[in-house]
């Protein structure tokens, strides 16, 4: 720590150059934070997937509905423990930009299927008993300032009521949340009681969007999935069943291989930063060769002077990375609001911070080592020639 004022002073000896370099590092890590958040958000379904859950959709298109009656038949498949189903409602709240997911579900089946969604027992009970009942994820509740007990007016883009109206109203009877950030990303959703929804909708009665199956043994997932699909083979509504994680990954890949895309963008960004900061460091050290020779003259060992140069690189990357990540954290709530719930909510994971620290450290070593080694090899007598 006693060397910090020295390293700090050296780093900021040319303020404009250092500030510009810091800004470029900041922008790089801001991009890193945001892109990681986007990637994690789109892959969060896969992260929170349970190996003992299968998803069943219509064989040829996930938007084709399936009969609700399948639930009873699926329950009889060997290895199946429970079955739940959900249907896509396509909701808007107040205006076009406030869009979020609303699923029509059998309350007991669905909440039993997702025990990671935490809900007060009394509210769960109320959801099961209230035909017009709805429960919402806590983040949505906070975003729109909803209170349990209020009416929840939402419009559907898909389902009209029997009177032809697309405007629905539910009783908000509960709120659910999750501790795990990956699971919480999936709680930006409103669940409505399918009993009322199915009765009140104009068309599509007796149909649902997809099934979720809990199985006893994750190792039997493929066999059970095949058994389920075999059950409905050659029927008008053939099915396609897959482990939840596989389904989530496949869904994410429909918008492209986000992971590979993010990795390529970040590689390009960090390569640019490597060149930029490497050049800055090399130039900064080159200008200070006589001063570094003086430090050696005063008794600073080769190791100490080398560490000072590396420390300068680490400080530069560390400040830039910290500011970049903090900027990402500070603007993400605004981005989440701007998307109006159309995309999974973004947040910066603890793992992203750790990864940012590792990247910053690696960059610091990459840009700091060449000038540091040059300083390590520096011969005092030669470096001081002409500067005595």
């Amino acid at each position: 720590m006693k060397y910090l004022p020295l390293v700090w002073s050296q780093l900021f000896r040319r303020k404009t150059r250092t500030v510009l370099t810091l800004l470029s590092v900041l922008v790089a890590f801001l991009l890193f934070g945001l892109l990681q958040a986007v990637q994690i958000a789109f892959e969060s379904g896969a992260d929170s997937a349970d190996a003992k859950r299968l998803l069943t959709t219509a064989r040829y298109s996930i938007i084709e509905p399936l009969p609700m009656s399948y639930a009873l038949r699926m329950e009889r498949v060997q290895g199946v423990v429970a079955v739940a189903y959900a249907d896509w409602f396509g909701a808007k709240y107040q205006n076009e930009s406030n869009a979020f997911a609303v699923f029509a579900v059998d309350p007991a089946r669905y909440l039993d299927m997702y025990p990671e969604f935490e809900i007060a027992p009394a509210q769960r009970e109320a959801f099961m008993k209230t035909r017009t009942g709805a429960v919402a994820g806590k983040r949505l509740m906070d975003r729109y300032g909803w209170k349990v007990g209020q009416k929840l007016p939402i419009s559907s883009e898909i389902h009209a009521k029997t009177d032809g109206s697309l405007d629905w109203e539910f009783d908000l009877v509960g709120v659910f949340d999750a501790e795990d950030p990956a699971v919480r990303a999936n709680t930006d959703v409103v669940l409505i009681n399918v009993a009322y929804f199915d009765e009140a909708r104009q068309s599509g009665r007796g149909k649902t969007g997809w099934y979720i199956t809990r199985i006893a043994d994750a190792d039997q997932a493929r066999t059970i999935a095949a058994d389920v699909d075999r059950l409905f083979m050659n029927s008008p509504d053939e099915t396609k069943t897959a482990p939840e994680k596989e389904f989530a990954v496949g869904f994410a890949k429909q918008i492209g291989d986000l992971g590979a895309l993010v990795t390529r963008i970040l590689l390009a960004v960090f390569f640019t930063i490597l060149i930029l900061t490497g050049n800055t460091m090399a130039q900064a050290i080159r200008e200070r060769i006589p001063e570094l020779a003086i430090l050696k003259t005063l008794g600073f060992s080769n190791v100490t002077v080398t560490a000072l140069v590396l420390g300068e690189a680490a400080l530069l990357l560390g400040i830039g990375a910290t500011l970049g990540m903090l900027t990402a954290v500070s603007i993400i709530p605004g981005l989440n609001s701007a998307t109006g719930g159309r995309f999974p909510p973004l947040f910066v994971h603890a793992e992203t911070f750790v990864l940012a620290a590792v990247v910053a450290l690696a960059l610091a070593l990459a840009v700091g080592l060449p000038p540091a080694l040059r300083v390590h090899r520096l011969r005092i007598v030669e470096a001081l020639a002409g500067h005595r």
């Binding site: 050296q10 900021f12 008794g299 600073f300 060992s301 005092i380 007598v381 001081l384 500067h387 005595r388």
Partner: protein, 231 residues
């Protein structure tokens, strides 16, 4: 006579291209503790090379250099750096202060290598700056000081860790006559009142006049010895 620096048969050769150049040819020299030696001679005579060897900035090709009973010609890079930090203070023609640090921080630099606390380092630096008459300039950066003041700060930095030996390379070479006089009086005071042994390279006979004795190097050989104090 209590000898502080004992040099025996020291040679120094450099390789320049394919040619080997011997800069010092078998130097023998004793510098007593408390001495103030002015090392003079024409350019290329080996003055600075000899000074570098005495200050532990370079090692001889052959021969021995013993300072305060320690064979510094046998020390490796790390040990030599530690030895310099503990025993030698350096003063250069162009001051060589770090421009980004205040006078106080420049003076504190050698103390970063000690176990002193920040408060103790600050106090030692204040004392050194007071000794060279610059206590009130402690917060100033080098560019805010005159040449003479910069050299005083450099001298404060050289003495702050209370070294046995001060090595000065043309300490007045960049100063006007009046300022050079002040700097030489300061060095003389450090020698006479604080007992610092000083070895100084200079081209300036007037500066050399402040030393106790003068040594003349010519083509790598110690040629003439003058007892300047006596004259």
């Amino acid at each position: 006579m209590n000898v502080l620096v004992e040099i025996r048969g020291v040679t120094k050769t450099y390789r320049r291209g394919g040619e080997i150049i011997e800069v010092l040819h078998g130097i023998d020299l004793d510098i007593p503790r408390g001495d103030f030696v002015a090392l003079m001679g024409p350019s290329g005579s080996g003055k600075t090379t000899l000074l570098n060897l005495i200050g532990g900035l370079d090692t001889p090709t052959s021969g021995t250099i013993t300072v305060d009973g320690q064979r510094i010609d046998r020390l490796g890079g790390g040990d030599l750096a530690r030895w310099r930090a503990a025993h030698v203070g350096f003063v250069f023609q162009f001051y060589n202060l770090l421009p980004v640090l205040s006078a106080q921080r420049n003076v504190e630099l050698p103390l970063l290598l000690t176990r002193l606390s920040a408060a103790e380092r600050r106090r030692h630096a204040e004392i050194a700056l007071a000794l060279v008459g610059l206590r009130e300039r402690a917060k100033h950066k080098p560019k805010e000081l005159s040449g003479g003041q910069e050299q005083r700060v450099a001298i404060a930095r050289a003495i702050v860790s209370d070294p046995t030996l001060l090595v000065c390379d043309e300490p007045t070479g960049d100063l006007d006559r009046a300022t050079a006089h002040e700097i030489m009086l300061l060095l003389q005071m450090l020698n006479r009142e604080h007992g610092k042994t000083i070895v100084m390279v200079t081209h300036d006979p007037k500066a050399a006049g402040y030393a106790r004795r003068g040594l003349r190097l010519d083509k790598g050989t110690l040629a003439v010895t003058n007892d300047l104090a006596a004259s």
